[in-house]
Assembly symmetry: C2
Homo-oligomer: 402 residues x 2
């Protein structure tokens, strides 16, 4: 009998481990593979033969793994380049050595490129023994051909909740004040837009719309005139018409070689204070917490991520599926539901799905009802968290035992 290998790549999410948990559970329900290896630190560790055996994981550990954030197998930013034949030869030799029939790789568009490259290599070299299947994960929600990406709903839920709480906080004093919430999302506005689920966002700055300082300040002034407050959400990837990031704008190098502090939120604060429209402006940069705060997992997200891992395993037992990513298609006829499908990995690799321009309201006024209808079902429900002494139980990362 042959084995399989699962590894993780790219930035952490709150539910990435649920995909691994689902895959391990699927192999317990149908032991198609003799062993389920976990590869540590993605391609980086696989090339060093750093494996753990996940085959016989207890159900208790499986449940706790589902609620453990970040990547329990460790991650990497290592990109397998198509012209690096040495890496390819080495990797296939390792797959041969450990008798690995299928390699499952969770990640974003770089990881899907790895899946595409490996399956292309196998095809060109007439290797049918090793197969490659991708599982999407990214809080940025920017992968093509899948309704959404596991990890996004939980991050969106956290962001919307922080937005609501901090909006209630900033309103308690009678004084004039602007509050800026900065989110991740790189060049796609999905995460920033999710703050609108709270229903309290006054102005929203997405990377998809060139930042026009004059228009923004005019809208800010109107809002302050009406409410004495303004709640602004800005994406880290917000940029001017010429492509310059807001973060690199007014707050750039101070001439003394000091590190540049802060990102888009800090830069926007400087713009607002310099404009004189408001004397008080606070910034909350959600930073790392937004992508890994497992206690705020969306139940929809964690279950979908788990099932996606199961689906990947179940599709692999046909003995031929390779070079695909398992994706999700929304079945919205009656109520929200998801069908799992396979998508050629090369159609996902290296593309970015932007937040749809038709969902963006003019003058930074947030997003349309269609956008809210898309996001709203994703954040529903909360899993029952297993606590130990007031802290959620978590699996000690496998890479820490190496």
């Amino acid at each position: 009998m042959a084995n399989c290998l699962v590894a993780q790549s790219g930035g952490p999410t709150a539910v990435i481990n649920a995909t691994v948990a689902g895959l391990v559970k699927a192999n317990q329900l149908n032991p198609y593979y003799d062993k389920v290896y976990g590869g540590l630190n993605g391609i980086e560790g696989i090339l060093k033969e750093e494996f753990v055996d996940l085959t016989a994981m207890s159900d208790a550990e499986n449940r706790i793994l589902k609620q453990t954030p970040a990547s329990a197998l460790g991650s990497c930013r290592y990109k397998l380049k198509r012209d690096n034949r040495e890496d390819f030869a080495k990797l296939f030799a390792i797959l041969e050595k450990y008798n690995i029939e299928t390699m499952f790789y969770t990640g974003g568009n770089d990881s899907m490129d790895t899946v595409a490259a490996l399956s292309e290599y196998a095809e060109k070299n007439n290797i049918s023994k090793h197969r490659f299947i991708g599982c999407p994960k990214t809080v940025d929600n920017d992968l093509m051909h899948t309704d959404h990406c596991p990890g996004y709903p939980s991050a969106a839920k956290f962001i919307a909740n922080v937005a609501l709480s901090t909006w209630l906080d900033v309103n308690v004093y009678t004084r004039q004040e602007v509050f800026i919430l900065e989110t991740m999302g790189r060049d796609a506005g999905w995460l920033a837009a999710s703050a609108c689920l709270s229903g309290i966002v006054d102005l929203l700055i997405l990377p998809e719309v060139a930042f026009d300082k004059e228009v923004f300040l005019k809208e800010l002034q109107k809002c302050i005139a009406e409410k004495n407050k303004c709640y602004v959400v800005v994406s880290e990837g917000a940029k001017y018409a010429d492509g310059t990031y807001l973060a690199a704008g007014e707050a750039k190098n101070d001439g003394f070689g000091h590190a540049v502090l802060g990102g888009a939120g800090a830069a926007l604060k400087e713009i607002i204070l310099n404009s004189g429209i408001s004397k008080r402006c606070k910034v909350q940069d959600l930073s790392t917490a937004q992508r890994c705060f497992s206690v705020m997992q969306s139940l929809v997200d964690v279950e979908e991520s788990y099932r996606l891992g199961m689906s990947a395993h179940m599709r692999s037992v046909d003995g031929k599926t390779s070079g695909v990513m398992v994706g999700m298609v929304r079945n919205n006829d009656t109520e929200y539901d998801i069908n799992y499908v396979t998508i050629p990995a090369h159609e996902v690799a290296n593309y970015v799905k932007a937040f749809p321009s038709e969902w963006i309201l003019p003058n930074y006024h947030g997003v349309s009802d269609e956008a809210l209808a898309y996001m709203s079902p994703l954040i529903k429900g909360s899993p029952v968290v297993i606590y130990e002494n007031g802290i959620p139980a978590f699996v000690k990362p496998y890479y820490m035992n190496k």
Copy 2:
């Protein structure tokens, strides 16, 4: 029959409204007061006679109020000065006009000073008709004579959870990295120390210990040598031996009149990068979210805050209690439990309870087991959150209807 008045002051917490909910419920169980008025924006709004009537609040609203963060009645930073006789006369005239027998005031040590000042004024002027009772609330946990302050446990729970999640996140890559978590707490280290409940903090910088850059960097180097990572928690109030705040140190004015960006965490990052010990350093400033993130309420905290409001009402019906704060004494004989007591407000006013020096381990190595035993019971349990469309239900702040 006479009425009572409840108002809120100072910075928001995740459970401050639970005290109001408890007080309103107590008056429904024993309608000693004809009306329970809510004063909007603390003393500031009371002086403008901005009141709402909370007497007949439905049980559904009461339950949602318990989970609504920040101050539903609005807050203020207005300090009633003892020599401002005009304010005193005006306030007592308003209490007279609205037939208010007891005024309940929730807040920190400034608010307890207000309670003390008002009851002293009444005593000096032989006014027995109006009485004043304080209810503690502050995430900083720095009030004297009470085991802890409502609001602190929920903030501590949030901080410990973010610490655990971000530690798992920062460890996924094999690269060298320092992560800095910045917490609130002003000049007391309670909030920063609570991160240690996660069990993952490598180095902890409290305001109670003068910051010695050389010692800290030596410890950082040792940690990096051992783990290739270091997880650092720093309080916003951390300072050098000469009293200068870390936040005002290396990151101060850049000479061009630009606003200074960032606080203690950003300053520490600069120190670390300048030292050359690590080339990568990330900062997560928990900022506003840590004091108002209601979805992470500790069950212990929200129940204690609610009961404290009930206790304040129940003690007031003796017709004479005044000039006190309702506090909590820990009854630790068998298992964690709390007795509610009254404490003269002037013994709380204007003092700050520091984090005990005997609980601080040397060389920034965190806190003792005694400290963990003190904090641990406070963060236990999670209330069942009432959601609407994936977002927790909340009471529209009363001050928004004025």
